[in-house]
């Protein structure tokens, strides 16, 4: 059956989750999916990762929250979200109507909160997996981010693992000395996949007013500027763990996406590019087929991790 195998050429798996293609949209850059429904054919996407959800609604940071930088942007949204209950009642009705896997990005202030929210989402119709944002401060540990201490990251992973049967993807913070240590810790604690990178911490100043450009002073750097760092980390992590890795960071074109797949990513997420080029995910999906053809490969799985580092 040529047709069937043909449609499977881009198929990849993250744990028990099968994606029709490796191209997802990144948390916080695609709203709850609906925001892009006029511009993007949501049914073509490999998956949709929704804006980070916490147990209770969060108002987010005061404005200004965003600023453009060289080939990138800083955001300090402050994890504004409707909270898990309203997410289920208000946002899932649209999302569960889609034929595309929906992955819910979750966050918390404490290990318990991560566990509770994962538990609450377990069994909700239309949710295919959880992505755990561990770049948040652990309020019980003086605000040190979960994602910067392997033990804390492992504890969160374990708590989420206990609380749900859904596939869980741990999303790593790049603001660490040794990303491989972090990745190994969450792999051992039961993660089904690892996504990286979240934003780099950055800052910008208005020299006229002598004030920070973000009310929150610091924010997360995203966009093409960070791609080289993201790619390096994905390569390091994919070489060190045996669970699937999802590459994120500045991906705009199919060439960007293929760099991540060659480096070992099983799938990728398009983030900031959704803002300046909403057609990016669909263009990448189309381009992947052409890339396979050019390279004389039959399916995308034959590309993953095939970077030739020898001479």
């Amino acid at each position: 059956m040529v047709a069937a195998s043909d449609t499977k050429e881009l198929q990849v798996r993250i744990g028990s989750l099968t994606l029709r293609n490796p191209v997802m949209t990144a948390s916080g850059t695609f709203g709850y999916g609906r925001e892009f429904s006029n511009l993007v054919n949501l049914h073509r996407l490999g998956g949709i990762v929704v804006k980070g959800i916490s147990l209770l609604p969060r108002p987010g940071n005061p404005p200004p929250r965003i600023v453009e930088t060289a080939c990138g942007m800083l955001n300090a949204i402050g994890l504004e979200n409707v909270g898990v209950e309203r997410f289920i009642t208000e946002k899932m009705s649209f999302l569960k109507g889609l034929d595309t896997p929906v992955i819910v990005n979750i966050l918390g202030d404490s290990v318990e909160e991560y566990g509770e929210i994962a538990h609450r989402l377990d069994g909700v119709e239309g949710i295919s997996g959880l992505e755990v944002n561990i770049s948040c401060p652990n309020v019980k540990k003086g605000g040190v981010a979960f994602g910067t201490v392997p033990e804390m990251a492992a504890t969160v992973t374990g708590a989420v693992r206990q609380a749900t049967r859904l596939p869980i993807i741990i999303k790593l913070s790049p603001n660490v000395t040794d990303i491989v240590l972090m990745a190994r810790a969450v792999e051992e604690a039961g993660a089904d996949g690892i996504s990286l990178i979240n934003t780099l911490i950055g800052m910008a100043i208005d020299t006229k007013t002598r004030k920070p450009r973000l009310a929150n002073v610091i924010g997360g750097l995203s966009g093409p500027a960070i791609k080289p760092v993201a790619l390096r980390m994905v390569w390091q992590v994919a070489s060190a763990v045996s669970i699937p890795v999802i590459g994120i960071g500045g991906i705009t074109t199919v060439d960007d996406a293929m760099e991540f797949l060659l480096a070992g990513a099983t799938a990728i997420q398009v983030g900031t590019a959704n803002f300046y080029e909403p057609s990016a995910p669909e263009q990448i999906i189309q381009g992947m087929k052409e890339y396979l053809h050019q390279q004389g490969e039959h399916c995308i799985r034959d590309i993953i991790g095939t970077l030739q580092t020898g001479i």
Binding site: G31, N38, L39, P63, M73, E80, E277
Partner: protein
């Protein structure tokens, strides 16, 4: 709500003043769906510097499928835009956001300051569709100087509106501040529409509140997506919660936001 991503051919670009340009593009889908007060997100370059799209109000719209923008060059993006030439292709997303509610009662007062006048031209034209006599309405326009203001005033006069003006340097109309002109007309109007510098709108909203006249304002904030997805465009709402300018606005009733 319909929105389109459209590759648009530049039909004309005219320099109106030293740093003000009027750009017309062929955007049949966006133009057909546009409502006054809505905006478009323009990709000014296909490279990554500048990276983000730039928001601009819809200034003019024609049934022939053209869309007009009026903009001032203030930085990287607007300077690139000012250098486009006829025939170039620009990528636009729109129409976006919530526009003005078209008031059927009269008279209304339209108050614009600087580039804030841009969306009011489209508004003024659309208001006429409901067999309104523009002579009864009031239009108060202000800008830095005659050079900047005069071509915009002509647009309203061509539609039949009476226009009062003020300029910072006194080179056209009253020397000074637009809101001062409002006091005389406010008792008679049923609705105020305004767009301009934040301090100006703040005063107007307060005057309208005191006079119990309904007032719609169009706000500006930095925007990454214009689609309600990034949550970057917040301003504090009147109820202490944040509102998102790109979806809940850019047009708000004066009482909806904190001033």
């Amino acid at each position: 709500m319909v929105e389109f991503q459209e590759k648009c051919r530049v039909a004309s670009i005219d320099q109106m003043a030293s740093d003000v340009y009027r750009l017309t593009v062929h955007a049949p889908l966006i133009a057909a769906a546009a409502h006054p007060g809505q905006f478009v997100m323009v990709r000014v370059a296909d490279r990554y510097d500048p990276l983000l799209r730039r928001p601009f109000s819809i200034h003019q719209q024609s049934s022939g499928g053209t869309l007009g923008l009026l903009f001032k060059t203030i930085g990287k993006g607007t300077n690139i835009l000012a250098a486009v030439t006829v025939g170039d292709s620009l990528d636009l997303i729109g129409p976006l956001g919530r526009g003005f509610d078209l008031e059927r009662e009269r008279p209304v007062c339209i108050i614009g300051g600087g580039m804030g006048i841009a969306p009011l031209c489209f508004l003024a034209r659309q208001l006429l569709l409901s067999d309104r006599q523009p002579e009864m309405d009031h239009v108060l326009l202000g800008a830095r100087n005659r050079e900047e203001l005069s071509p915009l005033v002509d647009d309203f006069i061509d539609l039949g509106y009476p226009v009062q003006t003020a300029t910072d340097d006194g080179s056209m109309g009253q020397h000074g501040y637009i809101p001062d002109l409002l006091d005389a007309v406010l008792p008679a109007v049923s609705r105020v529409y305004t767009c301009g510098p934040h301090p100006m709108m703040k005063i107007i909203v307060e005057k309208c509140r005191q006079a119990d006249v309904s007032c719609q304002v169009s706000l500006e904030t930095h925007m990454a997506c214009g689609l309600g997805a990034c949550l970057g465009c917040t301003v504090p709402g009147a109820d202490g919660k944040y509102v998102h300018v790109c979806r809940q606005g850019p047009v708000f009733y004066g009482g909806e936001v904190a001033w």
